[in-house]
């Protein structure tokens, strides 16, 4: 379980995150929803130790983030996470060299699934292919948690479908997934828990199926209610 407890972050005098708390369970797909600028990426970066927080605590399975944590959580940011000078094959080798949780068999399978060529130089990849490569790098680690930042942004429709397939396959099974998006429609039926953010605060945290069952509302319905206030 990933627990985010009352985290607060300022950046250049502006409070970007104000008392953010939520939990993401292993086995669930948890979605952080909010407009651009709501702080979604900052939260993810904070969880991964890529940016400091002023107060609050982030626990992964009860532990504070340390170097071994990176063998347990994998982050797929919305920007390229491998050296652009490298060829894809070199990128994969790099991961193999540094991560004991690297699963090169899965990496090969994903390479085929996404139709990427090993010999392609990363700097020459299209935006859609970069997104796919990022996902490949992230999912080829045998980790407990996967964090994805806007996996669908700026991606063409067919690449999106390919990427969405990943959520329903055994690649996600039993892992905890945290994903951010501002395009909820496409994946609403996939997520277990939704966390609505606005301007650096959590407006609402709820389980999607429970809300559907008890209130007959879709995630989009709840969003409309909550954001209109």
């Amino acid at each position: 379980m990933i627990e985010v407890k009352n985290i607060r972050k300022k950046y250049g005098g502006k409070t970007v995150l104000e008392d953010i708390s939520f939990t993401a369970e292993k086995g669930d797909i948890t979605c952080l929803i909010g407009l651009n600028g709501a702080g979604k990426t900052t939260i993810l970066n904070a969880i991964m130790g890529l940016t400091p927080i002023q107060s609050g605590q982030i626990l992964i399975n009860g532990e504070v983030l340390h170097k071994a944590s990176y063998e347990k959580i994998s982050y797929i940011p919305d920007t390229i996470s491998m050296s652009p000078q490298m060829k894809i094959s070199q990128g994969l080798q790099f991961m193999d060299d540094f991560y004991s949780s690297w699963n090169h068999k899965r990496a090969s399978e994903l390479l085929d699934f996404f139709s990427l060529s090993e010999n392609e130089r990363i700097s020459r990849l299209s935006k859609g292919n970069i997104a796919k490569l990022n996902i490949l790098l992230g999912l080829s680690l045998d980790v407990e948690f996967i964090i994805m930042d806007e996996p669908f942004s700026g991606i063409d429709l067919f690449s999106r479908e390919q990427i969405a397939e990943v959520f329903t396959s055994n690649l996600i099974e039993d892992r905890g997934v945290i994903i951010t998006t501002h395009e909820i429609n496409e994946i609403e039926h996939l997520i277990d828990k939704a966390i609505l953010l606005y301007d650096g605060t959590v407006l609402k945290e709820f389980c999607t199926e429970e809300t559907r069952e008890k209130e007959g509302k879709s995630v989009v319905d709840v969003m409309r209610e909550v954001y209109q206030k």
Binding site: T168, N170, H189, E209
Partner: protein
């Protein structure tokens, strides 16, 4: 499968199974796909399939023997109940739509008879 986002997905999955059972596409005792396979095929969260299967198991719609994949129940009574439930739901749904138009019952029955026979 297109999903209604206002209704729990797992319930929609169960309904899908019931329809398949009532129509005979899924036969009594037939093996059903694993949780993983179905999630992949329907493109939904494996958790949802898990919940649907559990609920169906509780309702007696499917049964799982040790170490085997789950199967559709062979219990004739349950299968009959499923059929009836779906027919009832369709009828309820129809009546609700038609009642608001305020057509006399005999006319409606005549129309149904016509359409049904033509459709065959």
């Amino acid at each position: 499968m297109n999903f209604n986002n206002r209704e729990p997905v797992y319930i929609q999955v169960i309904r899908h199974f019931k329809e398949q059972m009532a129509s005979g596409n899924l036969e009594p005792g037939q093996e059903i796909q694993s949780r993983r396979e179905l999630a992949s095929k329907l493109k939904i969260n494996p958790n949802t399939v898990q919940r649907a299967y559990k609920e169906m198991e509780d309702q007696g719609l499917i049964y799982t023997e040790r170490n085997s994949p789950s199967r559709i129940t062979k219990d004739k009574q349950i299968l009959q109940e499923v059929r009836e439930e779906l027919i009832l739901q369709a009828v309820d749904s129809f009546i609700t739509s038609v009642r608001s138009i305020q057509v006399p019952l005999d006319d409606v029955l005549e129309l149904i008879k016509q359409k049904y026979q033509n459709g065959k």
